[in-house]
């Protein structure tokens, strides 16, 4: 038998939130659920959730919506740049 480099420890156990300088925040009342941010996230740090209460109208409330996983988001800002509604804000992280 030989040693083969295969890892069974998931990267889920290694959060990278401390890498982030800027934090994206989605304004759900403006978000049209186009999921372009989810498509473009280079780190799969945007996840999909079922229907949302805080939607701008009832039709959108029934649609799936994007949620940023802040444990893995590295704050690159691609989602904010690509958002057609410009409803993702980038703000500097504040250390308290």
């Amino acid at each position: 038998m030989v040693l083969v480099p295969v890892s069974t420890v998931s990267t889920r156990n290694h959060p990278t939130d401390s890498w982030r300088i800027q934090r994206p925040t989605i304004q759900y009342d403006k978000c049209i659920r186009c999921m372009i941010c989810w498509k473009y996230c280079p780190d799969n740090a945007i996840e999909i959730e079922n229907g949302d209460e805080s939607a701008p109208n009832e039709r959108i409330a029934k649609m799936e919506y994007p949620v940023i996983n802040y444990s893995f988001c590295k704050g690159c800002g691609i989602c904010a740049n690509e958002c057609p509604e410009k409803c993702i804000d980038m703000e500097f992280e504040v250390i308290e």
């Binding site: 030989v2 040693l3 083969v4 890892s7 069974t8």
Partner: protein, 392 residues
């Protein structure tokens, strides 16, 4: 008795290698054309187009991508193949480490060609000698038949559970790649018996996800993984000998294990060569034997793992040896020479000379080898460039 359908024909080294890959039942091929390798993958592509070979062929934009594609396909447990040459091999350099480090038993054909500048497409082993430390096994063939059979033996050796390292199979540019020779096409059923399907233990499996190409820390197992590659390279020596012997018995061939010896039993002097230069050297050995000089030839087949033990055994009664290299380490001597002298150091104290020949495809003539044999007989030691012009 099983019916055996071996078929003797005439073909170029590149066609022979392509048939070797076909006989080895490769399922995935990705390559980028480069002279003088091009006709290998051209042949394989036409076999696939004509439904003679059940495999997937993926065209890519570079050699780096070709080996990356082969890396990925092999990692799914599919026997994969590629071929390259010279600058293309150098462009693969990073992926060579990825393949060996991931312990993927890929077999790749390399047609030995010079590295520029100036641009030169002829035979020169500098390209693969450059890749000595990448964790790949290296075999240098002397005939088209050997080039074909080495692909088949290569998969058997690389896929051995004690080895699990990739293998490069070499032919000298044009001297083998584009020259036609008689070649026996092996019987597919017998090959299937010799070489079973690939059963990769750790492979990408959707139902059982694991991390490949992850990172490791100084306190992790990085160092152990690298040491294990060295251990496996050592274990490969035994596997190579066993599998070559098995092949010899099944197909009535006569390949040496890591080295091939010619008239060495009672020899006083030895020539050591690798690749097609050995054919010329063998002719010179016969010629000098007629004149009463007890000289023999050792042909290095495997440069990695290097046959240190074989060399010690073969040279124990030798008065002087000459190592012929078709490559050079700038600032030192030939690559095989440095391996030989390190094998002998502290154990056998004889004069050994390094002879640099055929760089950039310069013809290696009978009189060149005779001159080498003459120098060896004078028991001198040094580094000599053979058939080199005075230009300044």
């Amino acid at each position: 008795m099983k019916s055996v359908t071996e078929f003797k024909t005439i073909m170029t080294g590149n066609d022979a290698v392509a048939y070797g890959a076909k006989l080895a039942r490769v399922k995935f091929i990705s390559a980028y054309p480069i002279t003088p390798q091009t006709t290998i993958v051209e042949k394989l592509a036409s076999m696939i187009a004509n439904d003679e070979l059940d495999a997937k062929y993926v065209e890519v934009e570079s050699e780096h991508s070709a080996l990356a594609a082969v890396f990925a396909s092999e990692l799914t447990g599919v026997r994969s193949y590629t071929a390259t040459s010279s600058h293309g091999l150098l462009y693969m350099h990073e992926m060579l480490h990825w393949v060996s480090g991931q312990r993927l038993p890929i077999v790749m054909s390399v047609v030995n060609r010079a590295i520029g500048p100036p641009w030169n497409i002829w035979a020169d082993q500098s390209d693969t000698i450059n890749q000595r430390d990448t964790g790949w096994m290296q075999v240098y063939s002397e005939s088209n038949q050997e080039a074909m059979d080495t692909i088949i033996m290569g998969y058997k050796i690389a896929e051995n559970s004690e080895v699990m390292l990739p293998l490069m199979s070499m032919e000298d540019a044009f001297i083998l790649s584009h020259t036609s020779e008689p070649v026996t096409l092996r019987d597919q059923d017998l090959i299937n018996e010799y070489l079973p399907d690939l059963d990769l233990k750790f492979r990408i499996d959707i139902g059982n996800p694991m991390g490949y190409g992850s990172y490791d820390t100084p306190d992790g197992t990085f160092m152990e993984l690298k040491k294990d590659m060295v251990d496996s390279m050592k274990k490969a020596v035994r596997v190579i000998k066993d599998e070559t012997e098995k092949f010899n018995q099944m197909f009535d061939t006569n390949y040496g294990g890591l080295v091939e010896r010619y008239r060495m039993d009672d020899a006083d002097y030895a020539l050591i060569a690798m690749g097609t230069v050995a054919s010329t050297a063998r002719f010179v050995v016969d010629k000098l034997r007629e004149k009463g000089l007890n000289i023999g030839l050792i042909r290095i087949r495997y440069f990695r793992p290097f046959p240190y033990d074989d060399i010690l055994e073969d040279l124990k009664n030798i008065k002087a040896a000459g190592v012929i290299d078709r490559s050079v380490s700038f600032g030192y001597a030939g690559a095989t020479y440095s391996e030989i002298v390190s094998a002998l150091y502290g154990k056998i104290n004889i004069p050994v000379s390094s002879f640099i020949v055929g760089i950039g495809g310069r013809d290696v003539r009978i009189e060149d080898i005779e001159k080498i044999a003459d120098t060896v007989r004078n028991e001198s030691s040094g580094v000599y460039w053979i058939n080199v012009k005075k230009v300044i």
